[in-house]
């Protein structure tokens, strides 16, 4: 079990995480194949974001390991993981607010990669990613002035501009209209066909249903079900988790 398989993009092994006396993740394990789109579902407070933070280096697990492309990365800081090809977005979008949308995305292309690409190439790539997420007409707007859903798109385009091998999207579609979600799903599906591996959360199912190959259902820090989206979304246990009745009343008042 200790042999590290290079055919796996990401492997999460028996991750445990507690905050004080509250267990947020207990023995979470899963693997992600290259080119796969894996959706992580679960009610608010299930531990999705904590799991994302551990995979991307922003938090340390109490025990367990994260293996990214055959290398153990559990203790790596976020910047090092990013340079190794892991990009992510945040639930609260993290943009450079004084820069325009386009400048944000240029930073993704220009300041990353070895060697760094020349500026004209970075600009060209930025325009490409901006058009892919549908922000071409907003590219010269100061990004801090954009509404939150569009800030998420800026962040997504900037993450794509780093040419990641694995992209983590945390609630990227929150606040999107249905048509915007469809557009985004189509864009991301195209990238998957070009070899991008995706791990995404979505506590409403809209984006995940349209996109994911496989779902993991997380509740109270445990993966309690997995399978293809069509079957899992109607699984009675998943439904009861969303209704908050799978565990009975939560003594902690929710996580």
């Amino acid at each position: 079990m200790d042999a590290i398989s290079p055919q796996v993009c990401l492997e999460v092994r028996q991750i445990k995480k507690t905050f004080g006396d509250r267990t947020v993740l207990r023995d979470v394990s899963f693997a992600l194949a290259p080119g796969e789109i894996l959706g992580l579902i679960g009610p608010n407070g299930a531990g999705k974001t904590t799991l994302f933070n551990i995979i991307s280096g922003w938090q340390q697990p109490d025990s367990g390991r994260v293996v990214f492309w055959g290398r153990e990365t559990t203790a790596w800081p976020p910047a090092r993981l990013s340079r190794a090809g892991l990009a992510r977005t945040f639930q609260a979008p993290q943009i450079f607010p004084e820069m325009t949308a386009r400048e944000n995305v240029i930073m993704g292309a220009w300041l990353t990669g070895t060697p760094h690409p020349p500026l004209p190439q970075a600009q060209e790539e930025a325009d490409h990613w901006l058009s892919l997420v549908g922000l071409t007409d907003k590219r010269l707007t100061r990004s801090g002035d954009l509404p939150l859903p569009q800030q998420r798109l800026v962040e997504l385009a900037r993450a794509l501009a780093t040419r990641p091998r694995l992209l983590l999207l945390d609630e990227i579609a929150a606040g999107f209209s249905l048509s915007a979600i469809q557009r985004l799903a189509a864009g991301l599906a195209k990238l998957r066909d070009q070899g991008l591996t995706l791990l995404l959360t979505d506590h409403l199912f809209n984006l995940i249903e349209a996109l994911a190959d496989r779902l993991l259902a997380l509740d109270h820090g445990e993966i309690f079900a997995q399978g293809p989206p069509a079957s899992l979304i109607h699984d009675p246990e998943v439904v009861s988790a969303y209704l908050g009745t799978r565990y009975g009343p939560d003594p902690n008042g929710g996580t």
Partner: protein
């Protein structure tokens, strides 16, 4: 280097600074003030390079004072020329920056400000009490002035010829301005801007934020140390109370914020408006109340132009 419209006001300003001593009032006091303006402009540029990484320092007097003392000690005890002691002495400021970085790396915002304010006391106390080396609070006097320059038949005395001194200080400030410009416009400059605007996002792009901020600090401390060394040899003396003065930590902050901290010429503009205004106009006109008027001018400007008066300049900040 491409000639861009944004260079025109800068070029006009440099030309004005270069020729106006030839045209206008011929009083030594006037050049003295302009020379010191250039010196403080250099200090403000140095301070601002660190600020470009998002750090607000209230302790740059430490770098200034260490640059001054190290240069003074080398000159006094070993009789080396200021030509060598100034660039070498500035390394003492860099050494202190390494210590600073180790201690304050995790501090941000007002906490960094407070810690840096207190940090000035360390080198100051050492210079104040190491009597055998530094003569304590009496300081060191009789330092060599800036050296003469003999070029063929031309002999220029930068130590006593105040006009010549002004040109030296102007040249050094322009050199600092060039370094400052690169710290904004280059790819590294944009890296600093990313760190300044959002450290989380910068780290998510793979930027080692602490390392980039440390680079900015080391560069900043070296230039501040150069300014301190120049000061020691212009005045011919150093004293702990003089070169580690709180005033020297606050001035660059005021000049940079007043001129525009995110703009290439902001710190220079701030220095060239505020210092001569205070020294040449307010003090002679209002010997009693000049400080109050000076303060009022700064408050009103910051109030109406929070991004500094460089926001008045015709060209917008460079985009990529």
């Amino acid at each position: 280097m491409k000639i861009s419209p944004s260079l025109l006001p800068a070029a006009a300003g440099i030309l004005l600074l270069a020729v106006w001593p030839l045209v206008f009032r011929d009083s030594p006091q006037f050049y003295q003030v302009l020379g010191i303006t250039c010196l403080y402009g250099t200090l403000a540029l140095a301070w601002n390079i660190y600020a470009l990484s998002g750090a607000i320092s209230l302790g740059h007097a430490a770098f200034f004072g260490l640059g001054a003392y190290a240069s003074a000690l080398l000159n006094h005890h070993w009789h080396w020329s200021p030509l060598y002691t100034i660039p070498l002495g500035a390394m003492a400021a860099v050494a202190f920056a390494v210590f600073w970085n180790g201690c304050f790396q995790r501090l941000r915002g007002v906490y960094l400000g407070l810690a840096s304010l207190a940090a000035v006391e360390i080198p100051k106390t050492i210079m104040d009490n190491w009597d055998r080396l530094t003569y304590g609070s009496m300081g060191i006097v009789g330092l060599d002035r800036l050296p003469d320059l003999a070029l063929g038949g031309l002999q220029v005395d930068f130590g006593l010829n105040i006009k010549a001194q002004y040109y030296v200080l102007l040249a050094i400030m322009l050199l600092a301005a060039l370094i400052h410009r690169q710290s904004i416009r280059s790819r590294w400059g944009w890296t600093l801007r990313a760190v300044r605007e959002n450290e989380t996002a910068a780290a998510a792009l793979g930027i080692a934020t602490n390392r980039e901020r440390a680079k900015a600090l080391l560069l900043s401390s070296y230039l501040a140390g150069i300014a301190g060394g120049l000061y020691a040899h212009i005045m011919g003396l150093v004293e702990p109370a003089l070169v580690f003065n709180l005033h020297l930590s606050v001035l660059p902050l005021v000049f940079s914020m007043f001129g525009g901290s995110a703009r290439v010429w902001g710190p220079v503009l701030g220095a060239f408006i505020l210092y001569p205004l205070e020294q040449l106009f307010l003090q002679p006109l209002l010997p009693m109340g000049h400080s109050a008027v000076y303060g009022l001018v700064i408050i009103l400007t910051i109030f109406y132009f929070p991004k500094g008066i460089a926001a008045w300049m015709p060209s917008p900040p460079r985009s990529v």
